[in-house]
Symmetry: C2
Subunit: 146 residues, 2 copies
């Protein structure tokens, strides 16, 4: 296997609600695909929300119970023990992104502050509780030059 | 916010065990960083495993309880309602990747098979139960040419 992630799929309660939230962040219109594949006794439904991010990474929103059926394994209701990290160029941009997430219907989990390991970051949760950390790392960003 | 994921952080029980598993997939030696930042009354510990994937995406392994403390929110023990998707070029490559994951210490959740929406895929779980779907999509891969 090449060391690569091509798709991040989030199990959600309402695909349209998820798309609306990420649209509110300015992440494009996206689309709902697969609605023609209804759930059957043998298969979960195929409807999923899809956003194409930078580098071609797909961010997908799939019904949580469909994901359980598709994967053949039980999943916790969530929020699960993971986070997605988003780097920005300054502390102010961290605070702005967290506010934008709240304005779009997300929840602030932890306001921006300095972490002992030298970053400034904060966390928000999307409408299903999926965690995002917004990070400014002065060791790797423009602030390191200043 | 730009539409981008820079980091995927998985909450884990044992950072070294996680690194060993992904090393077994051939995803590089990686490293444990931040061990100098021990947990305090005010802060979680900073130790995390880190792998640099293609396109510069960071795959991080962070103690689940440290992640909860860092994010300021309770997280389910997992496996959480999400999956990471990995595209390969053929059905045989799906089966090979699933077998490689099992050989490295993962668990097969759902063996490779055709899905109604035209892909061939299967799921494995890493040592903490985090879900990966390995996918061959003939509509977008070399098999579409054949």
């Amino acid at each position: 296997m090449q060391p690569r992630v091509h798709v991040v799929t989030l199990g959600v309660a309402d695909i349209e609600r998820s798309l609306d939230f990420y649209r509110g962040l300015g992440w494009g219109p996206g689309a709902v695909v697969g609605t023609e594949f209804e759930a059957t006794a043998e298969s979960p439904g195929g409807a999923a929300g899809q956003l194409v991010l930078e580098d071609g990474l797909l961010l997908m929103f799939y019904g949580r119970q469909d994901l359980e059926r598709d994967a053949g394994t039980a999943l916790s209701p969530g929020p699960g023990p993971f986070s997605l990290g988003h780097l920005v160029e300054s502390r102010a941009a961290v605070d702005e992104a967290l506010q934008a997430a709240v304005d779009a219907g997300g929840t602030l989990a932890d306001a921006g502050h300095e972490r002992p390991w030298g970053i400034y970051s904060g966390y928000f949760q999307d409408p299903d509780g999926h965690l995002w950390e917004v990070i400014s790392n002065p060791a790797s960003g423009p602030e390191a030059e200043g």
